[in-house]
């Protein structure tokens, strides 16, 4: 089955991102295709490479980055939601005249059309978080 995943909550406060991650791992193990993982609302905060969790806890951003590298996942962060919350890639840093960017490896910033496209293309769109 072709699956689209939506992550609507940031890391740590809610378990949604962990659950989405575990769901994606399980779906891949079962042979399903993950068309795209779309991060919206506070979910965009999963994509900052500046998170530094305590050493005895998981690094949620790093887990997504590693999973992307292993399976060539399409991890898309909504640009409008990201800009509000200070998640920028190098392009947006320059375009907005900011002095830094923080997107983590393996994530890309794009528009909400990517979410609609996932809804159209996938057999199921599965949402995690409120």
């Amino acid at each position: 089955m072709k699956l689209g995943i939506v992550v609507n909550e940031g890391p740590y406060t809610h378990e949604a991102s962990d659950t989405a991650y575990n769901f994606v791992v399980a779906a891949l193990e079962k042979g399903h295709e993950i068309f795209r993982v779309f991060f919206y609302h506070d979910g965009v905060n999963n994509a900052t490479r500046l998170t530094v969790p305590p050493q005895d806890d998981r690094n949620i951003q790093q887990k997504w980055t590693d999973l992307q590298a292993k399976h060539d996942l399409d991890l898309v962060v909504c640009i409008a939601a990201a800009q509000r919350r200070g998640i920028l890639d190098e392009n947006e840093m320059k375009r907005q005249g900011k002095d830094a960017y923080n997107i983590a490896p393996g994530f890309r910033i794009s528009g909400l059309g990517q979410l609609i496209e996932a809804g159209i293309q996938c057999d199921r769109l599965v949402t995690f978080g409120d």
């Binding site: 609302h41 409008a80 939601a81 909400l112 609609i116 809804g119 159209i120």
Partner: protein
């Protein structure tokens, strides 16, 4: 069903203020309108407060996006379902809601109401009849 037109239902369950979900849901609806899919909006639970007329955000200092609901008809978003029980539980009726309209191209562009008041049971059937549900 990987190609062709799908039925999208955007479910709005939260009050317009207090969280960003209502505003960011509208942003998805407006972008989604460009994809020429079959689009419906549902308002239930505290989401019915989004359509109450007369709210403004001046004293909150946040963006007043009430006019965006009025513009939905121009984006060909003309099927808006509001749950009757959710209105009643909050002491509201259809008279408290904004007048949302669209121009019906199959009826000489006559202006018609986009709002349909439906029961909880009908809402459940509506959800079952849609392909993609995005809940906010």
């Amino acid at each position: 069903m990987s190609e062709g037109i799908k039925k999208f239902l955007y479910v709005n369950r939260k009050a317009p203020h207090g969280t960003i979900y209502a505003l960011e849901a509208l942003e998805v609806v407006l972008i989604g309108a460009a994809f020429e899919q079959d689009v419906s909006l549902a308002f239930l639970d505290d989401g019915v407060f989004q359509l109450v007329k007369g709210w403004d955000t001046k004293e909150l200092g946040s963006k007043n996006f009430a006019p965006t609901y009025m513009a939905l008809g121009d984006y060909d978003v003309s099927k808006i379902y509001v749950e009757k029980e959710s209105l009643e539980e909050r002491g509201l009726s259809e008279d408290d809601l904004m007048e949302l309209t669209y121009e019906d191209e199959d009826d000489d562009w006559a202006e018609k109401s986009s709002i349909h008041i439906v029961s909880r049971e009908e809402m459940a059937r509506l959800m079952a009849a849609n392909d993609v549900i995005l809940s906010f």
